[in-house]
Symmetry: C2
Subunit: 316 residues, 2 copies
């Protein structure tokens, strides 16, 4: 297991600079009043492909040797990692192969293809995905970029918190959603050195609370097929992200589906930004646990904004 | 008729600085490709009360003498001007009286009240509104701040284009929606001095194209009760805004209801911001008239983001 360092994060930021946006911070007097603390929202939904995952993906893609770059990259994902890796590969002009379940939403497939990603469909099962991916990896020689359990990816995600601290001049806490733990790990990596007094809080759906239970149990617990509207947070922790979660995360809080949807709508209404349900979990837990945040300067990472606008969860 | 000057705009910017946001610019590689030009979106939907109208309102409110300020301000509006004027008055701690038709959406009334505005309801007719407003004005002594036909308001709206030019380093064209013409007039006021080579283009719904027809005819034409989804653009030009439109606007283009909704959804999807239908008319006309914009640096003013999230026009 190779654990990325603070210097890896600094090198990543240098490397990906031309390929990402230094995303702005949004604030709302209304939400501050409502939450009883000072909230800063880092708008990673404003990245060109709509999610923070372009940071880790670009770090992996632009760190490849010329020889490896010719063969490109490969991954399995039906979410933002697939489109962000395709986007980064397109910017370097190298192939990106993506294994996706044939049941994945058409809009996700369209986005991957818009960025030049080549999709190979598999059945919606772990065994089919693994077999299909092994075949594609062997055929193409593409470098496997895991969605989160990869030191290059974690170092890339860590660049978000570096900008966050520079832009806000310091925060008491940073709250990010937790699924596989890539963003949370990058946040821990950066803040442990840059701002060790800043607490890292993870926010998770009650209905996919494997990280919460892992955190309390002291070892990784993986669930089989959890269901939540926060569909970016379905995947389990892996060894590398567990390292950061178990060593650096201060607390994990959970929120119900209703609380997540309410927080999502609040942000759309008062910050006037489009963000995913997964990105609403941090505000949901802040509103649910006001005592933990009262009077603090709280940073929230808005992880992504790729939403099916025809299917909004508050409209039946 | 008092025509505001460039110096009035500069003074307004100084005066309102602490009360408004210097709103960010959003860009999208995808929309640039689609439009065939370089688009810069100035996010006035990110003002705290959600619309550019806070600029003109704050300029009027913070320019009042102490004696007048005690009596407060008054207006008639069922839209963003009412909430923005209430917001500005709340920040100065003075009364704001608003005459609104009793049929106005509950959400609009709630917003005005959240900012401390006092609502007096009238019947949804011009005669009732005028009679009710005359009574309120006489009773309270509140200074009448017209939604757009007021030199203080136009000077305030002009501050947006000053920031826009500073933030982008220059634009070939600025496109803004036109209703009563307050934002367009402010844009003309500022750019005529600051960047006389930058063309000012107005965008209007086909179904409320009174400004277009006025522009072609050479005199103000006012429609009776036009209907469009772009409900911020229903009102007619008045003498002061006609002065700027007739002297400085380069062209007015119109777009259909479908084109407006399509452009609105495109912005939500690719810029990931929440904006009103009225704010989508500029992109709609840019996509409809590609030859007029090809290869240019085009600034679009995103005028507001107060949307009923339960009633989106593309969801039936």
């Amino acid at each position: 297991m190779i654990i990325p360092t603070y210097d890896d994060m600094l090198a990543a930021h240098e490397r990906i600079g031309p390929h990402i946006r230094r995303t702005p911070i949004r604030t709302s007097d209304y939400l501050n009043e409502r939450a009883g603390c000072e909230l800063f929202f880092k708008c990673e939904n404003f990245q060109e492909p709509g999610a923070f995952k372009v940071r880790g993906a670009a770090n992996a893609v632009f760190g490849l040797s010329e020889a490896q770059a010719e063969k490109g990259v490969a991954t399995h994902s039906s979410g933002n990692h697939a489109s962000c890796l395709s986007y980064a590969a397109m910017r370097r002009g190298i192939p990106c192969n993506v294994v996706m379940p044939r049941t994945a939403p058409q809009a996700k497939k369209d986005t991957v293809r818009r960025f030049g990603g080549r999709i190979t469909e598999c059945e919606p099962s772990t065994s089919s995905r693994e077999a299909t991916f092994a075949r594609i990896e062997a055929e193409t020689g593409g470098d496997f970029v895991h969605p989160y359990n990869d030191p290059r990816v974690i170092a890339g995600q860590g660049t978000c918190s570096k900008e966050f601290m520079e832009q806000t001049g310091g925060l008491d806490m940073v709250v990010a959603p937790i699924g596989g733990g890539g963003m949370i790990s990058g946040t821990c990596l950066t803040l442990a050195t840059l701002a060790p007094e800043t607490r890292v809080i993870a926010a998770e759906p009650e209905q996919a609370d494997d990280a919460y239970r892992s955190f309390k149990a002291g070892h990784i617990i993986a669930d089989d097929a959890p269901k939540t509207i926060a569909d970016g947070l379905l995947v389990p922790l892996k060894d590398l992200t567990w390292h950061f979660v178990s060593n650096h995360v201060h607390e994990i809080y959970t929120a119900s589906e209703t609380e997540i949807v309410d927080a999502m709508k609040l942000v759309w209404k008062h910050l006037r930004i489009v963000m995913e349900a997964s990105s609403a979990v941090p505000l949901a837990i802040v509103l649910k646990h006001p005592d933990a945040f009262r009077g603090k300067r709280v940073g929230i990472i808005v992880t992504g904004g790729n939403v099916d606008l025809d299917m909004l969860p508050w409209i039946q």
